[in-house]
């Protein structure tokens, strides 16, 4: 990484909190003067149509408060985090940034995000605990306001499940049985695929099983990528791939699209945003899919992981942190803002009250056959297991792609790949100057 990192631990909450309060103090003193004059803020976001949502603010509450927000549309992904950090190094980061949950520790450990607990603390009750916890990193500070979430679900071809006489699996054991049964009935059809390209999916599955990849103890980070829960998940998928019960090809390729579109793959473990993807990937099967909760590890359990989702954060470079935090809170809790976000940007809101509001009373067009799609989705979202992100998620994700990609191809041991992922993540943390507990 080209930027030099501040060797600071997220968990040394005192230091971070002190620093942030000091900065916030400076910020608010200058804001007192700024309050009298108009404030203009810049906002880096990748959500499509965000400019239209921000227009609502600029013409409504923003006009009243004399806070104007300008959207600068960015491309999403890890590179955006690097770009924010580079800009922060020059003291030129925008006032507001959109950040994925797993990127927050990286941004906070580089001192790029301001603590806005004073301004947005009241918003806490609008979100599920598991979601809110991701923006506090387990401290008393608040580094972002949740925007959208991606609770994971199980999607399947309703018609083909009937045709092959399959039942929707309630547990992962049943899922494996379903895959085998399908292979027997239609040898060239797969239930689904294990994609070594999608680290986020694997992280979500591990999260559902109860894995905690990054935790802190005292001043030290603890990396648990090869903990028992994750090993269980890796073994489960590794065995399915090894015995050929499911496919091992990556997702989001033309071949994968074709497999979904022609019924060669009849199920997909995905998240709430799947309808959008399916619309372009499998246009001919519209109305033939249905959604169900993710299979569970044991009967009676009711948990899901999350895949995707992002938040709105205020940077330490902002000269108007109060104003920026005010906007961030409005954007993600105000009813009008959230329905505009749903309409223009197609997001699934993190705010629990919005999950059943106007925009979500009717199902997505692709799922018109499942009228209660969003009611079910909101129920599933409530069961999201807590997640634990660390400051080098990008490294873990890259290693996942390499190690699991090779393992899936050679049909070799997935737990060995998991160990590689653990080792490289720990090594990188140490290289960055973080203290790591063994």
């Amino acid at each position: 990484m080209p930027y030099t990192k501040r060797r600071r631990l997220v968990s040394s909450a005192v230091a971070v909190a002190l620093g942030a309060t000091a900065l916030a103090a400076c910020g608010s003193s200058s804001d007192d003067e700024a309050q009298s004059g108009p404030v203009s803020l810049t906002y880096w976001t990748w959500a499509p149509g965000m400019d239209k949502v921000v227009d609502l603010w600029n013409k409504g509450p923003g006009k009243k408060e004399q806070i104007t927000v300008t959207v600068k549309k960015q491309a999403s992904g890890d590179t955006l985090v690097t770009k924010i950090l580079t800009a922060h190094k020059a003291g030129k980061a925008p006032d507001l940034v959109q950040a994925e949950y797993q990127a927050l520790p990286t941004l906070v450990s580089n001192d790029a995000l301001a603590d806005i607990s004073g301004e947005v603390g009241d918003a806490k009750e609008k979100f599920a605990d598991g979601v809110w916890q991701q923006t506090t990193l387990g401290t008393d500070a608040v580094y972002a306001v949740p925007q959208d979430i991606g609770p994971m679900m199980f999607y399947y071809r309703e018609d083909l499940f009937k045709k092959y006489g399959l039942k929707v699996p309630a547990t992962w054991d049943e899922f494996a049985e379903t895959a085998r049964a399908l292979k027997k009935k239609a040898p060239d059809t797969d239930l689904t695929t294990f994609s070594a390209n999608d680290s986020g999916l694997f992280a979500g599955l591990a999260q559902q099983a109860g894995a905690k990849w990054w935790t802190t103890s005292g001043d030290k980070w603890k990396v648990g990528i090869n903990d028992a829960a994750t090993q269980k998940v890796a073994e489960f998928w590794g065995d399915l791939v090894k015995e050929g019960a499911i496919d091992d090809q990556p997702m989001y390729t033309p071949a994968w699209n074709k497999a979904l579109n022609t019924g060669k793959q009849i199920a997909w473990v995905s998240a709430v945003w799947a309808p959008g993807t399916l619309t372009t990937a499998a246009p001919d099967t519209k109305g033939k899919w249905a959604m169900a909760p993710l299979p569970q590890w044991s009967d009676g359990e009711n948990r899901t992981g999350s895949w995707g989702g992002s938040s709105t954060a205020v940077t330490t470079d902002s000269e108007h942190k109060d104003a920026a935090a005010k906007f961030a809170a409005w954007l993600n809790t105000d009813g009008d803002a959230l329905s505009a976000l749903a309409k223009e940007s197609g997001i699934y809101p993190a705010s629990t009250s919005a999950q059943l509001s106007g925009a979500f009373t009717s199902p997505p067009e692709y799922f018109s056959n499942q009228p209660d799609f969003y009611r079910k989705a909101a129920e599933i979202a409530e069961t999201t297991a807590p997640s634990a992100w660390g400051p080098n998620v990008n490294v873990a994700y890259t290693t996942f792609k390499d190690a699991f990609g090779a393992a899936a191809k050679n049909k070799s041991d997935f737990t060995a790949a998991l160990d590689t992922m653990q080792e490289e993540t720990v090594a990188d943390l140490e290289k960055q100057g973080f203290e790591v507990a063994q």
């Binding site: 999403s76 020059a90 003291g91 030129k92 372009t280 246009p283």
Partner: protein, 301 residues
């Protein structure tokens, strides 16, 4: 896009030695080299064919119809691309043309001046300077993007047209090429003769040396134009306002729209396809400069 541009360069560059050698006697075709080259051509051109064909497919057809069978959606794709966010694509195209056109022109001027000076004049530190330049040629411009960003941030120039133009004006490779070319194409005798006739150094440079260096400078211009047109990281770091984005960056934002929004594949493919045209047109227009008989009438040996 970069690979495509290079393939465009190959056949054009190949024409000049062919014409210089004169007509060859009819020979047996060498089978192995020909086959190897054909294979290479297919390997290089197949992705281009894919882009061309894929750009004619509508979103529905893109992944469901046979790969190399044209679809029916080309005009639909183009109009959809043009209307995306009020035609921001054409803004990106204009930006790219500005960055690449003006940037390459300025860069060629700088290269011509310094290359000529390094080749013709003898002065203290010339070789040191040239060696430093050579080191610069070996340095990939990618690793300079972030230091350049931090420097320009100090001058408050980031997120402006200048921030992308300025760093690309000095091209070590261009200077290097101009020096080599000037040393080969501008004979010392000619410069000397000019001085004897009473021409000033500026006049000799503009009237005598520059025309001789033209084919080399055209090469520098094209290289730099293609390099800037395809550059991604520098504008990515420098710019945050998407109205100033060049095409590479713009298409990237169409692809990376976040997990819950599908990538706009058809728009990106059509956009990439259209973005090739200016490059192809440029090569077609400019390639005639390469076939100039370089030293005609300069010195008779």
């Amino acid at each position: 896009m970069s690979s495509l541009a290079l393939h465009q360069a190959d056949p054009a560059a190949g024409t000049s030695p062919g014409t210089a050698r004169g007509p060859a006697r009819p020979r047996r075709i060498a089978l192995v080299p020909t086959l190897t080259l054909l294979l290479g051509a297919v390997y290089c051109l197949l992705p281009v064919v894919w882009v061309v064909i894929a750009s004619t497919k509508s979103g529905r057809e893109l992944f469901s119809t046979f790969t190399f069978w044209p679809g029916t959606g080309f005009t639909g794709n183009v109009s959809e691309l043009s209307s995306y966010r009020d035609g921001v694509y054409w803004q990106w195209m204009g930006n790219s043309a500005l960055y690449a056109g003006l940037g390459a022109l300025l860069s060629t001027c700088v290269s011509a001046f310094s290359g000529y000076a390094l080749a013709i004049y003898r002065f203290r530190g010339r070789e040191t300077m040239f060696n430093i330049l050579l080191a610069g040629v070996l340095m990939p411009p990618v690793i300079l993007a972030i230091p350049q960003y931090l420097l320009l941030a100090k001058a408050d120039l980031t997120d402006s047209y200048l921030s992308v133009l300025l760093p690309q004006i000095l091209s070590p490779y261009g200077v290097y090429l101009a020096r080599i070319y000037a040393a080969a194409a501008v004979p010392a005798d000619v410069v000397e003769a000019g001085r004897m006739d009473g021409a000033g150094e500026w006049r000799i440079f503009t009237r005598v040396a520059l025309p001789m260096m033209l084919p080399g400078l055209v090469t520098v211009f094209l290289f730099q134009f293609v390099a800037i047109w395809n550059n991604f990281l520098l504008p990515y770091i420098m710019l945050s306002d998407d109205e100033k984005f060049p095409i590479t960056l713009g298409l990237h934002t169409l692809l990376e729209q976040g997990a819950n929004t599908p990538a706009l594949y058809t728009l990106v493919i059509t956009g990439a396809f259209l973005a090739v045209f200016p490059l192809v047109a440029l090569f077609l227009v400019v390639q005639r400069f390469w076939s100039l008989d370089l030293l005609s009438g300069a010195v008779k040996s």
